[in-house]
């Protein structure tokens, strides 16, 4: 009898202990689930930078972050050693971007190519997320304007020449992106371009192009990026070619270095989407890089 009592008592004590442990484990699970359920986890770091290569990525700068961007495009690699594989000829763009809110950023820049000034506004419309709010895609809208400031040829500059010089172009772009995994992000970029001035690479005032781009991370701080813009054939001029760029991103904290090969020397949308004359299959490939340096101008707290 005594032994039976003892056994029963010890079993009960054991059960008590197990119960305490189980009960707290259950409560912990319950609280954790509650947190996960009530929280929306927004996908971040879809791309390392606000540009994939030439064009915009879905990313915007966080509020009060200033991004100083310097981009270079050199001459044709196929020029060989005489032009140091293109490095003797450089075109560049200097730009300043700024995050007004976490969803709206603006930027201005100047390119040596056609002495172009440009400005853009970029707004996040949807943000990929999981948890309370589930959203499979991120969508960002970009609108930009560019104006070239080249001096006109002397005979055109005369007031009685009868030629009105058009310099402006405008771009509307939707960036539709999904970060499929930690490594892979893909983006589609339907793009509408209106140019006041037409040229042999740009016969129609209005051009529609579809871009596709993406990145694949090869390490924590490096990724391989690629970007291609397809112009609708019926609008595309014979002298123009579609721009294809491949490169790598290297992030080092405050800096992002983007090194790439592309067939375009232009650095604003209108230039690289519709005015690219180089062809990859003719070895018209050039080296280029973008350097981005971010500064937090106002601390969050």
């Amino acid at each position: 009898m005594h032994i039976a009592k003892m056994v029963l008592l010890s079993i009960m004590l054991l059960l008590f202990k197990v119960l305490i442990a189980q009960d707290s484990a259950n409560l912990m699970m319950q609280l954790q689930k509650e947190v996960v359920r009530n929280e929306t986890v927004y996908t971040t770091a879809t791309f390392r930078s606000t540009r994939i290569i030439n064009g915009h990525s879905v990313e915007t700068l966080p509020a009060h972050v200033l991004d100083l961007r310097i981009s270079h495009r050199f001459g044709l690699v196929s020029d060989g050693i005489y032009n140091f594989f293109g490095l003797d000829n450089a075109t560049m763009r200097l730009g300043f971007d700024y995050g007004i809110t976490n969803n709206v950023m603006v930027g201005v820049g100047h390119s040596t190519y056609q002495k172009t000034y440009d400005a853009f506004v970029k707004t996040r419309l949807l943000r990929q997320s999981t948890g309370k709010k589930n959203m499979p895609l991120s969508v960002t809208f970009v609108t930009s304007a560019a104006i070239n400031s080249l001096r006109p040829a002397e005979f055109l500059a005369k007031p009685d020449s009868g030629v009105e010089i058009e310099r402006s172009s405008y771009v509307l772009q939707l960036l539709i992106t999904r970060k499929f995994s930690e490594k892979l992000s893909l983006q589609l970029m339907p793009t509408f371009i209106h140019a006041d001035n037409v040229s042999f690479t740009h016969l129609h005032h209005n051009i529609v192009a579809f871009g596709i781009g993406g990145r694949h991370r090869i390490s924590k701080r490096m990724s391989v990026n690629a970007e291609y813009y397809y112009q609708l054939p019926e609008l595309k001029a014979d002298g123009a070619h579609n721009v294809l760029s491949v490169g790598i991103d290297i992030g080092t904290g405050g800096h992002v270095f983007q090194l790439h090969f592309t067939n375009s020397i232009g650095l604003v949308e209108r230039s690289f989407i519709t005015e690219t004359t180089g062809r990859w299959d003719h070895s018209d490939v050039l080296f280029g890089f973008n350097i981005s340096r971010v500064f937090q101008l106002k601390k969050k707290h």
Partner: protein, 189 residues
Amino acid sequence: MKQKIFFLSLLLTSTFFPNKKLIAQEYFTKNGSISFFSKASLENISADNNQVISLLNTQSGTLRFYLLVNAFHFSKAMMEEHFNSDYMESDKYPSASFKGVIDNIVSIDAGKDATYQVTVTGTLEIHGVSKGVTTAGTVTVKAGIISATSVFKIQLKDYNIKIPSIVVNNIAEEIEVTLNCRYQKRTSN
């Protein structure tokens, strides 16, 4: 025989019905705070997380913590992004947790104002790496409210968090973690 039935029924009730006394000894919080501080030659970095879940059983001394890594907030937005993508890999390891027991105090009396210097031993899981740790802290009971604080240090290499050589002067090898939780009593549900 009567005794047997008595014990058996006690056993059954304790198994199938949550014991009120047990629940009354459990304290929890959903907004505990954990912050960390990195002191390196080029810069000091700190971040706060105010959504820490913690559970304290004053009778058994079991102590649990759980947090979502992406709920750490930094003063620099880009730093927060890099913390998640490059260092903590919070897509892969979204949470960090601790499960342990207070091992120098038998029990905490919530009805009496007191300060307990405690040592806690358990398993800390960060960045997918679990490691046994022992650390000191303080549990305070004041006017029926239990709070816990602790300051301890962790080595990044213990949790397989690598600092690339280029930022070796920006990020410390040893990170100071400060914990602050104010518990509320668990009411039966």
